[in-house]
């Protein structure tokens, strides 16, 4: 399915009754099997945008629509959260099966599906562990398996690896790309890390700081399947520099504002 975000705006009202524009007229699309990154400085409303697409927040104006063919029972979205958001009282496997329960699948079918995605994310042998018994990287694998298991039309990822250490993050990025090559689920990936965005995405949508607007959409011309070695290629560097040029002044402004 294609995701269409059409002139989406979101205004929050703070306690003093003042309006705060978080998102201002965002338009973008995610095509089937496409990997799109949304990149912006902190406080640009990236997470708000993802929340609205997931149906967890109301938009102030504009709309989010899904267009195209959908398998019966297929959910529009599934989300991978920055803080993992695993249920601490559920084992890894029970966490993966959560969405399947809500879809109303019978236990045998749930077991079968969860086993498949547990294997795909390298969680075999950890099915019976509780989240607090897993490392950060393993927890996010559970988060990814839980989201993929419901077979969503688009997978929403909200800075999924930013809570992990640098080494784990690099490995997880590679693994995610490997999984994506196999499943080809469209992904909308929010990040503030330029390398991460360019390395993984087909297109990078660059947002401005508050109020969040689309500054530009930067296509990434890197061959797939991708590997770390490509990070030195001219097209990688060009795209990275292009994006840095777009958000540099924004980041500086945020820095100064943060001090004041």
């Amino acid at each position: 399915m294609r995701v269409i975000v059409d002139r989406l705006s979101k205004t929050y009202r703070d306690r003093r009754g003042q309006d705060l524009v978080a998102l201002d007229g965002i338009s973008l699309t995610v095509e089937p099997e496409e990997f799109v990154a949304i990149l912006g400085p902190s406080g640009c409303g990236k997470s708000t945008l993802l929340g609205i697409i997931a149906g967890l927040l109301p938009a102030s104006s504009g709309e989010v629509a899904f267009e195209g063919e959908r398998r019966p029972g297929q959910p529009f979205t599934a989300t991978v959260f920055q803080e993992f958001a695993l249920f601490p009282w559920r084992t890894a496997q029970a966490n993966v099966e959560f969405g399947l329960e809500e879809l109303g699948l019978p236990p045998a079918e749930r077991r079968k599906r969860s086993a498949r995605f547990i294997a795909m994310t390298g969680l075999e042998g950890f099915e019976g562990r509780y989240p607090h018994q897993l490392s950060g990287g393993m927890r996010q694998r559970v988060g990814i398996a839980r989201a993929l298991a419901v077979d969503p039309a688009v997978l929403l990822m909200d800075e999924p690896f930013s809570a992990l250490d640098a080494q784990t993050r690099t490995l997880m990025m590679e693994e995610l790309l490997g999984i994506w090559e196999r499943t080809r689920t469209s992904i909308l990936y929010v990040t503030h890390n330029i390398q991460e965005a360019v390395y993984m995405a087909d297109r990078v949508v660059v947002l401005s700081r508050r109020p969040g607007r689309v500054l530009e959409t930067v296509p990434v011309e890197l061959k797939r399947p991708r590997h770390e070695g490509q990070m030195g290629e001219p097209s990688f560097l060009q795209a990275s520099e292009r994006i840095w040029g777009l958000i540099r002044s924004q980041a500086q402004a945020a820095l100064v504002e943060g001090k004041a």
Partner: protein, 265 residues
Amino acid sequence: MVAGRVTVRDRAAFLRRADHRLLRVAALGGLLVLWEALTRIGWIPALFLPSPLGVIRELGEMAASGQLTIHVAASLRRLLWGFAVGAAAGIVVGIATGFFSRAEAVGQPLIAATFPIPKIALLPLLILWLGIGEPSKIAVIALGVFFPMAINTYAGVKEADPLLVRAAIAFGAGRWSVIRKVILPSALPMIFAGLKLGAGTALLLLVAAEMIAADSGIGFLVLHAGNIMDTTKLMVGIVCLSLLGVLSHWLLTRAERLAVPWRHT
């Protein structure tokens, strides 16, 4: 200036605590031995304080004659019914007031207004309404358990991580699914804290109710033994009560380990 080499000393050493297992046993054992010794020497008349061995002997005799069983069974029945009814109602009300804004608006002021009433003061009223038999005693225990349960469950519901609620909704959960699969497990540790609190209150109210209006039960046994100055029997009753208290706490701790495995493993 002074030259030299100084080794760093562990300055937090006094914070590290040993287990002192032997000391724990010795404290309890020592008290019993001292007590037994004092009564044997005759320093304390048996009428004021019977010897521990005498109490155990009496306990054995009362158990053999079936006298004790009747009282313990009567108390246990009241305790379990009152506890079950009060805890169930408290959990339901706690979840409702914690989750639904209307239930909160209605329930919160009512609970705040009625919570401070000492529940035993309601016993005469309950007897008037429900009669002198079992229902009034069960009701007063249930009331005593209800409040800590409702208040603790409410606090537990409020503690539920909003991120987890959002995650559940993101994966298709509706209102009831959220309550069952996120709110309830989030509140479980607080619910168990409430159950332990409630167990203490239940025991207190049980004894009070049995002392006021009963012809069976441990509370009755203690009061009756006191009236006829049979201190040994009185002590048997007190031992039974303390055993009930220890046992209920132990059972609840075990149940908590089973129900909240993610906190202990």
